[in-house]
Structures are given as C-alpha cells and as structure tokens.
Assembly symmetry: C2
Homo-oligomer: 208 residues x 2
DNA sequence: ACAAATTTAGACAGTCTTGTCTAATTCGTC
DNA sequence: GACGAATTAGACAAGACTGTCTAAATTTGT
C-alpha cells in the first residue's frame, strides 16, 4: 500500500489529530523517515491525501457520467442502473467514503483546501449532471422545470435509504444500494416522468 | 456555559483525540479539576456529551412531530412549514449539527454508544414519521404505497439542497432552508400528491 | 560490479496531554 | 460568623507524539 493510501486510511479512522505517523509508516510498509522525506510534515501529508482523493473521486464521477442514459430504452431501468453505478463507483467505494469523512471531520480546519474540493467536486459535477437531465427533458423523456434542482433531488432520492449507514461510515450492501436506487428512481419518475402508461403504473404497484 | 456544552463544542471542533481538557475547562469557565470531579475521565465526558445531545435532539424531533399537519388545510404549504421546522429546530440547530458531527467522526470508535443513538434516534423517529404519512394517505391526502420509504424520501428531498453545507458543518441560512424545503415538498407532492388540480400545476410552474 | 541515491532503524530533544495530588480559597447553609 | 462541601490554581509524573539526526543497509542505474 502506498504512503498516501495508508495515510488516507489512518486519517479517516483516527482523525487528523489522532493519526499517528508511526502507524501510517507501518501500514504503508515503509519507515517513518521515508514519509518525512516525501512529505515535509503531517499537515503536508494530509493535504496530499485530500488532493489525491478529490482527483480520484472526480475522475470516477465523470467516468460514471459517461454511462448516463442519454437515449434511454427503458427510462426507469436505465436510471436505476445509473444511480447504482453512481453509488457503487463514486459514493460507496473506498475513495468516496474516505473523502466524505475527511471533509466532514476536518473541513472546517482547512477552508482553502476544501474550497478547492468544493469547486472541483460538487461545483463541477452537479452542473454536469443537471445538463444531462436538461437534455433528457429536452428530448421529451422528462418534465423538468429546473434541471439543477432535479439533479440534486435525483441524488438525494437515490441515497435516501443509505443515510444512516453513511452517517456511521459504513458501506451499504449491494442490495441496499439497489433498493434505495430503485425506490428513489421510482419516486423521481412519479414526480418528473412524462406520460406514464397505465401498464407501467400497474407494474410498479405490483412490484412494490 | 455548562461543562457538557463546552465539551460538546470542543469535541466537535477538534475531534475526540484533538480535544483538550484544559480548553474545555476554560470554555466552560471552570477549573480542570472540576471536570475530573464530575466526569471521571475524557472518555466518560465524551459519552455524557453524546447522551445529552441524543436526548435533546430526540426531544426536539418529537416536539416538532406534534406540529405535523394531520389535517392539512393547504397540504403543500403545511408540509413545507413542517419541513422547515424540522430543519430549523432539529437538524440545523446547535444540537443537531453537533450530534451529527460527533456521530460521523467518532461513530466507528464507540459502536455501542452509537448503536444506542441509532435505536433511540432514527429507530424511533423514522417509524413515527412514517406513521404520520400513513395516516395522511389513509385520509386521502396522499397516494403512498410504502410509508417508510415515503418518510425517508420526504426528509431526503427536504434536505436535498443543504447537503454541501452540511458536509462542511456549516449552518444553512433561513432562506436556503426554505428553498430546499419548498422544492423538496413540491417534488414530493408531484410524486405522491393526489388529484392535483390544473390550477395548482399552473401556480407551481409560475412560481418556479 | 560500482557509485549514487534512497531507505532504514534507532536514538533523541522538545512539546503536549492526561490524570493525580495538595493546599488554599470560595460557596452554601445554618 | 462558622463549618462542611465544593472549587480552584498550580505543580507534578508518566506517557505519547512530532520532527530531526546519524550511521548502516539497501536499492537503483550504468
């Protein structure tokens, strides 16, 4: 395991103040001195960790965006699939959980660092997702007034049932993710879906 | 400021490991020895803080539940009001923010303590909220299949636009809370509202 | 195989923190 | 005012951690 990865793990478990450089060294399989050689001090190491996590998470998010159903065949199924991928590959994976925890625990202590995250993260991903929904609406698949609101609500709904697990830093099971995404997308489409056929309604009620 | 309140403040700002008993003493306006007299050690003090916050938050939540619109006059306005009260009095206030942060930062370190919170908090409040929605549905105001899912989604939608602020431990402005609640409830009612009149749709679109 | 660069183990000073102890002071109550 | 309980300031030992230093060992490139 690289120094950065080990540091991320320890910083997350113990917090910045509680993190022990010796422990990071052991976990990374290097000597303490090597850490001090690569990263001047604890704070610099911490910054490097956050930067690394932010980059990787953003890369993952944009990669997942590429699989957004721009021309959906089955809108509900396609959006559920997208929500699941979003959760599994960006929000519930190691990097996502670690970054979220570091932001929550140390965000107030390093305003400029996390302002950078905010600009590079949500500041870029939310509008990008909103644009996808706007295109979907323009193509007649959705009835959306405000794509920004819709994008935020889509993610909120997809994660609605994972909140408690997230709170405690846990990793939801695949089944929980699928459940939450399914319920969330169904509600999303009840609100923003267009011309739902009677058959679709029937099917939805039957499988609830 | 009481010892517990000062301790809550410092534990939140600095984390358990980073919290300094001397600082808590200064902030509480007592000597360090008094803290050790009342609470045997740092860990016991921390436990007392979490217990206190959990109790107060639960009390606030159930108090707010009493204002749930069981017989709504204007369902949208009443639900928005409820969502705003929920946010202002339970989620965004001092106790709510502190408890959330402590759970996020130290939850994994004290499983039994936060299991207690989980049982007393979400474990009791979510079903209680679900029961309200079930009653609303039974009275013909909503079309809800699964009240538990609806309750979780209601809260997720009401907070959808506050997530970034929550992440960094910030306190959203009254306006942000109202905005998020308004958008959230509108979407909720688009999904679960019954027999929406054409006039209501028009009004909603006009004010968007 | 050799030389340079990197890594390692361990010791080390300096700082900080917890939790205890003691003696003096303040407070509440009669 | 007097007495017992609570609080205070400060010193203190024990332990932990950071960041530096040195000399030996290991890796790397040629």
């Amino acid at each position: 395991m690289s120094i950065i990865d080990a540091a991320a793990s320890v910083f997350c478990r113990e917090g910045f103040a509680g993190a022990n450089i010796d422990l990071i060294a052991v976990e990374a399989g290097v000597s303490r001195q090597t850490i001090y050689n690569h990263h001047r001090d604890k704070e610099k190491l911490f910054m490097a960790v956050v930067r690394d996590l932010t980059e990787r998470c953003n890369a993952g998010i944009f990669a997942t965006f590429a699989s957004f159903p721009d021309q959906p065949k089955d809108l509900e199924a396609d959006l559920i699939g997208f929500a699941v991928r979003m959760n599994q590959n960006c929000i519930c994976n190691r990097d996502g959980r670690f970054l979220r925890k570091l932001i929550q625990t140390e965000g107030e202590r390093y305003p400029e660092l996390f302002a950078e995250w905010r600009d590079q993260g949500p500041g870029r991903t939310w509008p990008a997702l909103a644009a996808r929904f706007a295109r979907l609406a323009h193509a007649g698949h959705l009835a959306v007034d405000d794509p920004d609101v819709a994008a935020r609500q889509f993610l909120a709904l997809a994660n609605a049932e994972l909140q408690t697990t997230f709170m405690l830093g846990g990793m939801p099971s695949e089944d929980e993710v699928l459940q939450s995404a399914t319920h969330g997308v169904r509600t999303f489409l009840r609100a923003f879906g267009k011309r739902r056929s009677a058959a679709a309604v029937e099917k939805q009620l039957a499988s609830a």
